[in-house]
């Protein structure tokens, strides 16, 4: 394999493919063959003859053995050096925030929390539909309305009726959003202080609802007109609380708050790796 390039490099010469004019002749022939279509058939003929002779010449270059030339090697020392011989390390102070808890939740717990919360927020939403509009489809259609064709200025009865597109779109939107929020939550969890229930259960839903309240007029005006923000907030908080509860009941892992922010971010760098390895070793010993 790769015979002519990589063999015999220990001697004073190296085999390299020999220069050849056949490829350029063939290329010129191919071009002329096509150029004949816009000029003159004779040019095509000339091109075909050239291309064929190029192909034959090329063929003879590689068969039965690829032609090569020997290039003499003159050995010279190349010094590989740098102007910056030293490398800085990220210094991790040992006493950094040692008083904080040293346990947190794995990334996957966020996804589990997202799924659980997504399921848990359905009952309050449905309940709202039943109480306010006597239809379980009302909140579903509000969410899925964007995907239902011809949905302009719907009446309340319209929204309360069953539309299979609405259900489908609502399920997709709901599932994607819950999973993503859960994933984001899980990814950032190890970086942030604990109290997932306070953060994810109360604070995040309130912020999220506020953000939606201000942008919903553009994102989905039908939803904006028909939405009951109180119930919306309840659903969101349900999501947050359940997600937080699920996360809180996952088994904890140790990478935690005694470390500086850069390590909680999961940054990979030589100095920190050593630190982390030694941390796990200590952990093993302590157990």
């Amino acid at each position: 394999m790769n015979e002519e390039q990589h063999s015999g490099s220990h001697s004073e010469t190296i085999h390299l493919p020999a220069p050849t004019a056949w490829p350029i002749i063939m290329a010129f022939g191919v071009m002329l063959a096509f150029a004949g279509m816009v000029t003159n058939f004779g040019i095509s003929l000339l091109g075909i003859v050239l291309a064929l002779s190029g192909a034959i010449g090329w063929f003879r270059q590689v068969l039965p053995h690829e032609a090569h030339e020997d290039i003499p090697v003159v050995v010279e020392n190349i010094i590989i050096t740098t102007t910056r011989p030293e490398v800085a390390r990220i210094i991790v102070p040992e006493d950094d925030r040692a008083h904080l808890p040293v346990e947190t939740y794995p990334v996957l717990s966020g996804i589990k929390g997202g799924i659980a919360g997504g399921i848990a927020m359905i009952p309050p939403a449905i309940l709202y539909g039943l109480i306010a509009q006597h239809s379980i489809w009302y909140p579903v259609n509000l969410l899925g309305g964007a995907g239902v064709a011809n949905w302009r200025n719907p009446s309340t009865a319209d929204i309360a009726a069953f539309h299979w597109q609405g259900v489908l779109v609502a399920i997709v939107i709901h599932a994607i959003t819950c999973l993503l929020v859960g994933l984001l939550y899980g990814a950032m969890l190890p970086m942030l202080p604990r109290r997932p229930i306070l953060l994810g259960g109360i604070l995040a839903p309130v912020l999220w609802t506020g953000l939606l309240h201000s942008t919903m007029g553009v994102v989905n005006p039908e939803l904006d007109q028909h939405i009951a923000w109180g119930w919306f907030l309840i659903s969101q908080v349900t999501f947050g609380l359940v997600a937080g509860w699920v996360v809180a009941h996952q088994s904890r892992i140790r990478t935690a708050q005694s470390l500086p922010f850069i390590m909680r971010m999961g940054i990979e760098t030589p100095g920190l790796v050593r630190e982390r390895e030694s941390a796990t070793e200590n952990e093993d010993e302590s157990r």
Binding site: F34, N77, I79
Partner: protein, 573 residues
């Protein structure tokens, strides 16, 4: 290959970490002009072919740039008569076609040819003769395209070049609307140069997969090489549909076929689909090499390893795959169903996610570094900024309803020139400043380089920032002139002035290359204190690249040599 003797034990150098390599000095025998010419024409050396690709690309950059300047002069004031409508239409068609196929494609393959074998520690490409054929057939295809200025309607007719737009929408390309041979030139020249493109793409993939030096596993390949594997794969599945569409066009024009003949039930929309199935991934074929250059230059000048190597590889592959499913966002106005419009809106927005990851990773690479703003890094910093902006205008265009307003307006022109000039050309300039010392043994003049950078960047922003506005004010593309009462006059004048400034900057660049080649500062083998294998041989490298086959054990083999106390392989393993 099996044994691993150490013939050159490291020689300690005061104050530096070190390693040692064997190379030869360049051949110093005197050659006649004819001999030199002969050696370049018959060469199968990837380095020489890479340089040929670059020179060819730069030549056509100047040609197509001149066309752009003429276009801008014509548009500088309303109701101008500098160019006739026919000449204007030929110029913008040729400008687009040249820039995409003869400048963009050749320059990126110039980089691939020169650097991929060096970076993976190989002696040449996998198929050296195919490599030569690919270059020459591409080159002759380009010459054929420009020959149309002389021989448009056959040798005896009045000279005219293609004038149907670089997208050549049917049925404007039918014999009934484009008599003569101008459109045939367009199709045939692109088919011919397409052969070369496909050949090189095959070559790059085979080289990267089959020619790696010992220890260079796939996950240790420089990101540059990774990106070019992705680019070549993408080229293989995008240039070929274009060739297929051109064959259909020629069947229509020569054999009386009806593929795009709307009178006989053919479909004009089918051409748009076929063209954009090629046309949109083509943008990524061009921009991924810009990413590739950024992935090499930004870490070296920030003095840090690239942040998130695996994520960068995944994002590149992701971009390639998603880009195959977004073509119809060029067709939001042709009357697709609302569901199709929604689908292509979504798929287009999805491209933003892997590209976002890349921008964040470059920022994280620079974060905490010691950034040296030499000319290559200046260009690459501008690249990141401009690419961010073009990505955001891309999101705007992906919003189908807004696209109904923006499509085919000057906003779109500004957007894709932001990608093509602001991202791709800027990165390529940076790449040339970075690797010129390796290819020639001499540094490009830093002072001229700074002039080039600042003039070019300022000119760029004057031109293309302002160019968005006439689009928002209702100015469509491809018009040779416009009414005076539309309020586009001043804006177009500013845009044209910016274009001239960019032209001057490019001339400075060309001057810099010529001067530095003759009398530039000697580069040495590793002027930027870099980490990939191409810097482990002399500048310019000998014909055989490496006297002995390199062996690597990490993504940054030269870092390992320079910092034996903190080698990468310790971390990566």
């Amino acid at each position: 290959m099996a044994d691993s003797t150490f013939p050159n034990p490291a020689v300690p150098i005061a104050g530096g970490a070190h390693g040692a390599l064997d190379v030869t000095p360049p051949d110093v025998r005197k050659h006649s002009v004819l001999e030199i010419l002969h050696s370049w024409i018959t060469t199968v050396d990837h380095k020489k072919l890479g340089i040929l690709y670059m020179l060819y690309g730069i030549f056509f950059l100047l040609v197509a740039g001149a066309e752009a300047i003429a276009i801008r002069i014509q548009l500088a004031v309303p109701n101008n008569h500098f160019l006739s409508p026919q000449v204007y239409n030929r110029f913008f068609t040729m400008h687009g076609t040249t820039m995409v196929f003869l400048v963009g494609m050749t320059m990126i393959f110039g980089f691939a040819n020169y650097l991929v074998p060096l970076m993976i520690g190989a002696r040449d490409m996998a198929f050296p003769r195919l490599n030569a054929f690919s270059f020459w057939v591409t080159a002759f295809g380009g010459l054929l395209l420009y020959y149309s200025f002389l021989g448009g309607s056959g040798l005896y007719g009045v000279g005219n070049a293609p004038d149907v737009g670089w997208f050549a929408y049917a049925p404007l390309t039918a014999r009934a609307f484009s008599p003569g041979h101008a459109t045939d030139y367009w199709a045939i020249a692109l088919i011919v140069s397409g052969f070369g493109t496909v050949g090189t793409a095959i070559n790059v993939v085979a080289t990267a997969l089959c020619m790696r030096c010992k220890g260079m596993t796939l996950m240790r390949m420089p990101l540059f090489v990774w990106l070019f594997v992705v680019v070549s794969g993408l080229t293989l599945v995008t240039i070929t549909p274009l060739t297929a569409a051109q064959i259909m066009l020629l069947v229509d024009r020569y054999l009386g076929g009806h593929f795009f003949d709307t009178q006989a039930g053919g479909s004009a929309v089918a051409w748009m689909h076929f063209f954009w199935i090629f046309g949109h991934p083509e943008v990524y074929v061009l921009v991924l090499p810009a990413f590739a250059i950024a992935n090499e230059v930004i870490p070296v000048f920030s003095r840090k390893a690239i942040f998130g190597y695996a994520a960068m590889v995944a994002a590149s592959v992701g971009i390639a795959f998603v880009s195959l499913g977004v073509w119809a966002h060029h067709m939001f106005t042709v009357g697709m169903t609302s569901a199709s419009n929604a689908f292509f809106t979504l798929s287009t927005m999805l491209v933003g996610i892997p590209t976002g990851i890349k921008i964040f990773n470059w920022l994280a690479t620079m974060w905490g570094g010691r950034i040296r703003f030499a000319t290559p890094m200046l260009f690459l910093t501008a690249f990141v900024f401009q690419f961010l902006l073009s990505g955001l205008t891309g999101i705007m265009l992906a919003v189908a309803p807004w696209n109904w307003q923006l499509h085919n307006s000057y906003f779109v022109i500004a957007h894709f020139h932001y990608v093509l000039v602001g991202a791709i050309v800027t990165a390529i300039f940076g790449g040339i400043y970075y690797w010129f010392p390796k290819a020639t043994g001499r540094m490009l003049n830093e002072r001229l380089g700074k002039w080039h950078f600042w003039l070019f960047t300022i000119g760029f922003h004057i031109t293309f920032d302002v160019m968005h506005i006439p689009g928002l004010l209702g100015m469509p593309r491809s018009i040779y002139t416009y009414e005076a009462d539309r309020g586009w006059g001043t804006l177009n004048m500013i845009v044209s002035i910016g274009g001239v400034i960019q032209g001057i900057a490019v001339l400075i660049f060309a001057y810099n290359m010529i001067v530095s080649l003759r009398s530039g500062e000697k580069a040495g083998n590793d002027p930027w204190d870099a980490w990939t294998l191409e810097w482990a041989t002399s500048s310019p490298p000998p014909d055989y690249n490496f006297a002995t086959d390199p062996v690597v054990s990490s993504r940054r083999p030269l870092w390992d040599l320079k910092h034996p106390e903190d080698p990468d392989w310790k971390y990566e393993a």
